[in-house]
Each structure stands twice: as structure tokens, then as C-alpha cells.
């Protein structure tokens, strides 16, 4: 058996031969900035690892390197926004969520400023261990009133969500997939809209309600399950806040199928708990299960191994669904 290497995981989430786009965020932002003179880019010594270097190369006069100082990054973005600009700021999810929280809460969100925070390494997308794994960011950012929270599934979502964030008036937090990012949603109708769920496929036996890269995984799982004559649907909810409550309530009205919430985040306070709360308040009697990372400091290691270990790989999802049915 080939041993997987830790370093392999930081490169890409894409499977061999999967269609990918390189740096969808950086290229989209650079394109938007051609007609939007209010867009500026700011980073805390992570331009290269958040694809913001693409923007920096195409619009060098609008790129601000703020140094390895995340509190400054967020508050100075607030200052820029107060002067009428639309800053896109990048760092890793862990540093935005844990180091700069007060600055995002008070300096940016409290006055509904037009700052767009795009953070790489969300959830379990690096094997570097807890210092770099942003497995708690959705819980942290869901707690900020009025902040839009987006967890894109693939390069298509990243491109469309970047544009939507630029057009939205108010603060946005977006989980960022960087590098060679898989393209999955080209094959489905519709496009990303803030606050809107998308029913990517319908299913009579199982409905996955998922966000982020877990949508990619449950689509694969649904295909695999159809081989076992299990009809599984996928309701993709790339906007974690505000949640598309109507879509959840509607999905719960249909009797006789298992609802499974799925996210790339630990259980406390994440997307799954948000959906489950809505179900408890307004839902029917559908049985429900949760796929999420455990409430723990996760291991370091190779990403595929960790996804298997913590139950968010396609293979483990298929196994668990069969066990639940």
C-alpha cells in the first residue's frame, strides 16, 4: 500500500483526472476589479496561499500587504470600507476566526461595513494539525449578527460566490478553496445566490442537506448509493447564514425519507446544528442523522486518510448511510 504524505494534501482536493480550475477566487476577483474600481485586496502575509497573488499581479496598485498582523488586517479593512472601498481580505480561517474575532465583530460587522473576508484552509482541508485546521470557523462566524457566511462546494461556487459577495452590501465571510479546485457544479442547473439552497438532485429514500465540499462528497455518495437502489437526493446550501429556512422546511414536509446533514466542520455550532434547529422548530417527523467532524482537536496527516478517519470521505459516507437505512 502506498503511504500518503502529509504534504500531498495542501495541494488539492481534486481526485485524479477530475476537472479543476486554478485559483478561481484570485482570477474572479481580478476580473471583477477591472470594472469595479472600489475593490481592493488586503492580506496578512498569505497572498500566495489564498490566491490573492493573482489579484496582486493584475492590480498591483490596489493590493495591500499588511504583514503578519491579523487584527490590523481586519481593522484597516474596516477603515478602507469607511472610505467607500470594498476590501477583500485574505488569511487562513483559523487566524480570522480565532485571532481577529473582536476586530471582525466590532470594527467590521457592528456597523455593517462592506468588507469581504475570504479564508483558506477551512474545515479539514490541511493535514497540518489544529494550528491550521479551521474546523470551528462556521460556529464562530455564525454568531456574528448580519454577517453572511458562505461555504462553497467547488470552483464554480467560488467564482459565483466571489461575484455575489462583491455585489452584496455588507460584510461577508467566505470559506476559500484555493489552488487547483475541482469543478462539479457545471453539470447542474442554476447558480449561486446568497441565502438560496439548490436542489441538485431529488431522492425518495435519502436527502442530504449539505454545504461546502461535503456537497461534492454526497453527490458522489448519491451516485454510489443508486447502485444499491437507494435513491438519494442532494440539497446544497452554500450559504450557511442566512440559512434558506424555507428550503429546509419544504424538504422536511416530504415523508418517508432519511434526512442527513453534512458539513466540513466540527459538530458544535456548525451548519448541521443550524439545520437541525430549524427542523426541530418547524420540521415534520423525518428521521435525521449528522455527518460532521468530531468535537476534537484533529490529527495531523494526509488528507484522504483523515477524511476516512473522521467520516467525511465518499466511501465512509456510503457505508454510514447504508448502516442507517
Amino acid at each position: 500500500m502506498t503511504r500518503l504524505r502529509t504534504s500531498a494534501m495542501i495541494a488539492s482536493l481534486a481526485a485524479d483526472g477530475q476537472k479543476v480550475t486554478t485559483a478561481p477566487f484570485g482570477h474572479t476577483l481580478a476580473r471583477l476589479a477591472e470594472t469595479r474600481s472600489d475593490i481592493v485586496g488586503m492580506t496578512a502575509d498569505l497572498g500566495k496561499y489564498t490566491d490573492l497573488h493573482i489579484f496582486a499581479e493584475s492590480h498591483p496598485d490596489r493590493f495591500y500587504q499588511m504583514g503578519m498582523a491579523e487584527q490590523l488586517l481586519m481593522a484597516s479593512a474596516a477603515g478602507m470600507a469607511r472610505e467607500g472601498f470594498t476590501p477583500f481580505v485574505t488569511t487562513y480561517a483559523v487566524f480570522a476566526a480565532r485571532r481577529a474575532y473582536d476586530f471582525i465583530y466590532m470594527a467590521i460587522a457592528e456597523d455593517r461595513l462592506n468588507v469581504k473576508i475570504a479564508c483558506a484552509l477551512p474545515g479539514l482541508t490541511t493535514g497540518y494539525g489544529p494550528s491550521h485546521q479551521g474546523t470551528d470557523d462556521l460556529a464562530i462566524f455564525r454568531a456574528i449578527p448580519g454577517l453572511v457566511v458562505i461555504d462553497p462546494c467547488d470552483a464554480v461556487d467560488v467564482e459565483q460566490a466571489t461575484e455575489a459577495a462583491a455585489n452584496h452590501v455588507g460584510p461577508v465571510y467566505m470559506r476559500l478553496l484555493r489552488g487547483h479546485v475541482p469543478r462539479v457544479l457545471d453539470d447542474f442547473a442554476g447558480r449561486f445566490e446568497i441565502g438560496k439552497a439548490r436542489l441538485l438532485r431529488d431522492g425518495a429514500d435519502v436527502l442530504f442537506i449539505s454545504t461546502g465540499i461535503l456537497t461534492m462528497r454526497v453527490l458522489e455518495a448519491a451516485t454510489a448509493l443508486s447502485g444499491d437502489r437507494i435513491d438519494a437526493g442532494v440539497l446544497h446550501m452554500p450559504t450557511v447564514k442566512p440559512l434558506d429556512l424555507a428550503a429546509i422546511t419544504a424538504a422536511l414536509q416530504r415523508p418517508g425519507r432519511l434526512i442527513i446533514v453534512a458539513e466540513n466542520h466540527t459538530t458544535p455550532g456548525g451548519f448541521g446544528e443550524a439545520v437541525l434547529a430549524q427542523a426541530a422548530l418547524h420540521g415534520g417527523a423525518a428521521p435525521m442523522r449528522q455527518i460532521a467532524l468530531p468535537d476534537a482537536f484533529l490529527d495531523a496527516g494526509a488528507l484522504p486518510t483523515l477524511h476516512d478517519r473522521y467520516g467525511i470521505s465518499t466511501k465512509t459516507i456510503v457505508e454510514r448511510v447504508k448502516a442507517w437505512l
Binding site: R3, L4, R5, T6, S7, A8, T43, A44, D45, L46, G47, K48, Y49, H53, Q65, M66, G67, M68, A69, Q71, L72, V94, F95, R98, R99, G127, Y128, G129, P130, S131, H132, D299, A300, G301, A302, T305, L306, R309
Partner: protein, 281 residues
Amino acid sequence: MALTFQPLSGNALADMAQQNRIDTARMFKAAGNGHFGSCYSCADIVTVLYFATLRIDPTNPDWPDRDRFLLSKGHAAPTLYSALIRRGFIPEDWIAEYETHVGARLMTHPSRRYQAGVDASLGSLGHGLSIGVGMALAARLDHKDYMTYVLMGDGEINEGSVWEAAMAAAKYGLGNLVGIIDNNGLCVDGRTDDVMPMGSLVDKWLSFGWEVSRVDGHDLNALLQVLAPRRLMGHDRPHMVIADTVKGKGVSFMEDVRSWHSDSISNTQYAMAMAELGALQ
């Protein structure tokens, strides 16, 4: 054990610093890539600390009287791992499993969960000096004479938390605290001076109430002198050692090249590096 260890000096110390670079290259080879530049700039500093300066005991890694060492620039972990191996804290055969699989005992960043002899889990830059302030305060509270050394990168000094710690260390007169800045002039996005220039580092630390030494971070004898513990000398100011270093030092094609902050290495490059370092293959 610790008290009978003969500190290295001269050629033996220099050889150990090269051994550290060789071990690091072997770990990165096992993993496929690594932070070569960041490790090689501080290999001499870490070697001096572990083989001439620190009061430590491999048979008793949690010895309460040990000197503390915090690798705040946690991404240079292999440099620390080599020192721990060569001092006998952990076995040499762990090198081959560096980052190779989940559960490997040597991973990208040091962790108290995995390795004996590691004083804190680090990797989020800007944590080390604040943790060190706490350890130095604890030493005073326990009436212990151990020293606390914190090794930081120069880019790390951008973090405001470093300056919070700087003020606190001066306030409490922590003469048992030594900071070391691996001043290699490069960080992820470019030259430190372009990313966020630090101006006069010496003036900054002086104005924050620290004693400041500036030293060639690859001059082993100079490092020996400046890092020597002052536990009996009654110093009442924290001490910042600004060590001017070269990223990738020791391997000619890596020296002062930004991409080697973190990069993959080919078989040919690996052979060239090992030859330059004098490794037997």
C-alpha cells in the same frame, strides 16, 4: 545525565550543525517537501542551544529544572526534531516516518502530544513569546533558576501579540527570558522588508526595555557567548538576541531564495544538497 553531558564546541559543534541540516533534509525527503529555508537559517542556533546551552536531561524530558525552549516558528520543527534525536530524546529511526502518514510521530509542527522534549505545541506564529513570559514568571514563583528561550522568525514580529509580550517581560524584569529572532529577511510573501519593514529592530527592543544583542546567526562561537545562560548573574532585563541569518544557509542553491521557504525537492537536488552538507549516502 544532564549534568554530565559534555557541551560541544569547536569542530564537534560545527559537525553537529551540519548533521542537523542532513537530518532535516532526510525528513523532507521522506515527506516530499518542506520548509528548507526556514530550518537551515536557524539550524546553527538550535544546535548551539541543544548541544552547549540548555540544561536538559534526555532521560527525564519533563525534569522540572530543565531550561525551556520554545520553537515559536513551529514550521522549523525538523530542526528541533534533529536536535531531540541527536541528544537522545527520541529515536533516530523516527526520521523515516516524518510526515509519512497519519499517526507519524514527527509532523509538520511540533506538538506536546507526540514528542518528548517539546515544551509547547506551536505553529500559530506570535504565540511563543507570550507563552515564554508565563514560563519565566512561573520559574520565579517556583524559585527555580531555569531559563526560557524563545526562537522566533523575523516576520513573526509583525504580530501585535509579540509586542504585548515584550512590554510584559520588561515590566516583570524577566532576566530569565531570552528571545531569539532568526532574522533571515524573508517571509512567505516576500522579503520581510517589503512585507512589513521592521526598521531598526535593535531600537525597537531597546525602547521596549529589553537588553539587545545582535549577532551573526551562523557564527557558532558568537552564539555560544551570547546565548550562555545568566541564571546566576542577576540580570533583571529580558534579553533579545537578534541573529542575522541566511535563509537556506548551508546549501548553496537554497541560500536566500524565497521559494525555498517551503518547496519540494527533486532526487538530483537532494543528492546535491547532501553532498554539500558532507553526508555519506
